[in-house]
Amino acid sequence: MSAAGNNEGARTGRALPWALVTPAVGWTLLFFVLPFVAMGLSSFTAQEGGGGTLSNYSQFFTNPAYWQAMVNSLQVTAIVTVVSVLLAYPFAWILAEQVPERWQRLALMLAVLPFWTSYVVRSYSWLLVLARNGVINRALSGIGMVSEPLQVANTRLATVTGFVHFFVMLLTLTIFANLKQLSPSYRKAAADLGAGPVRTFLHVILPLTLPGIMVGAFLTFVLCIGDYITPQILGGNNELLMPQLVMMQIGRRGDFPLASALSIILMAVVTIAYLACARWLKIERT
């Protein structure tokens, strides 16, 4: 009776279905859409005294220090997304294909265990790991591999490392799930038709997991470009990313209109990324 679903509405009347969906829709309108509108309106005001103005936007586009933050954010996010996918994919693949079935659950649990430390603390911990006198430098100079300590902490590389750490875990989960969902017969069929492991991977496994990768990559993009903690703790303020710039407007001067404008601009960039990935981001019923 599958095709004939969705018919209850005809008889139950209109009241019940609306009663069911209105709270969620209302909540989203009230606490997501309306704030967004408020933020949009606020972005056209000046901090001192209201009145419509484009000055917040013009400030962003004319001051290189401001739009440089967007450039930095896009660069960091792009690097993080690509590196995370490249690191996570083989890892997820090994977990899904090389690790014996009964150990897989454990292996995966182990891989996501560090998720359960606090995010803030994890970033801070990376700072200590990467510091000039941190664990890595002590270890490397201890075994004589470096004479001068590596300068990683408080650089973009540190920010990227902190991000990649988080997103490798996240992407491993999504890609692993994707690989497990693939029917084993695809792999068998490719092998059967003469493809070696490499070509099976390139022609079959990779394209079939691409949608999953895209979803994971998009998620990485959204979470990464909007994150304040990691660059703030690890980047040493050597450059500003968009969320830092936004928080700075609030934290230093309480300039909400400018912070709003910057948020709106950030949102516009996320929207472009969303549109690029939209076809992979549908939620279907099984």
């Binding site: 139950t12 606490f31 090389q98 606090s118 603390v121 994890r122 490798v168 948020s263 996320v270």
Partner: protein, 260 residues
Amino acid sequence: MRSIARIASWIYALAVYGFIFLPVVVLVLFSLQSTSFPIPPFTGPSLRWYEAVLSDSRLTSALVNSLLVAVLSSAAAVVLGFLSAWGFARFVLPGSGLLRGLITLPLTVSYLIIGMGLLVLFNWAGVPKSLLAAGIGHVVINLPLCFAIIYSQLGDHQINIERAARDLGAPEWKVLLLITVPVMAPAIFAGFFLSMTFSWDEFVISFLLTRFETTLPVEIWNLLRSGLNPKTNAVGSLVFAVSIVLVVFFELTLLRRKPA
């Protein structure tokens, strides 16, 4: 050839595990540092920073706040998400596609933007900053997640199960209570559990929307900014331990009972 590839993949996997665990191991190790700097050389072991954490009432009350916000906001998100998912899956509603898109939209927006929006709105409306405000923000980010998880599980088979109940004389509320909720329990639980996880670790919304009473991540942030010492490591390690206990508990009790 094959064994080389095998060995290479083992090495790779171990390297990734190493990368993943490095900060956590360092975190826990230096939480046992007896001096003030959580960097080598190791001077411990000592539990003094754990004592310091446990006697810090701001941290302990933040922990309670965090739990409270996580449980309540997740419960709200799961209830709203479940009801709407059920409504959309079971009834033909005009503009259903658009409305579903609307509900899931926050999933594609950075937390910072959501937090900023609420901050601006609440400022305008004169709503004071509070845990409640942060909780509202957490429902905003978790509602789409719960909705998506539950909606994707409300397939045609579930439709027939509900029809069968209706057919056997169950009124709508009994269908919901006796059939849909129990059958959907795994998805509902998954939504709740994930929401808890996200809420528990969420920083920026709580940071922007709370004032005195705040959540643990924000309090940890404050701690980070109020002096250098391994107390941060100790809090982090405690959170880690508590989380693991919870995960293992859920794993052993709720998740195990899956029908074969």
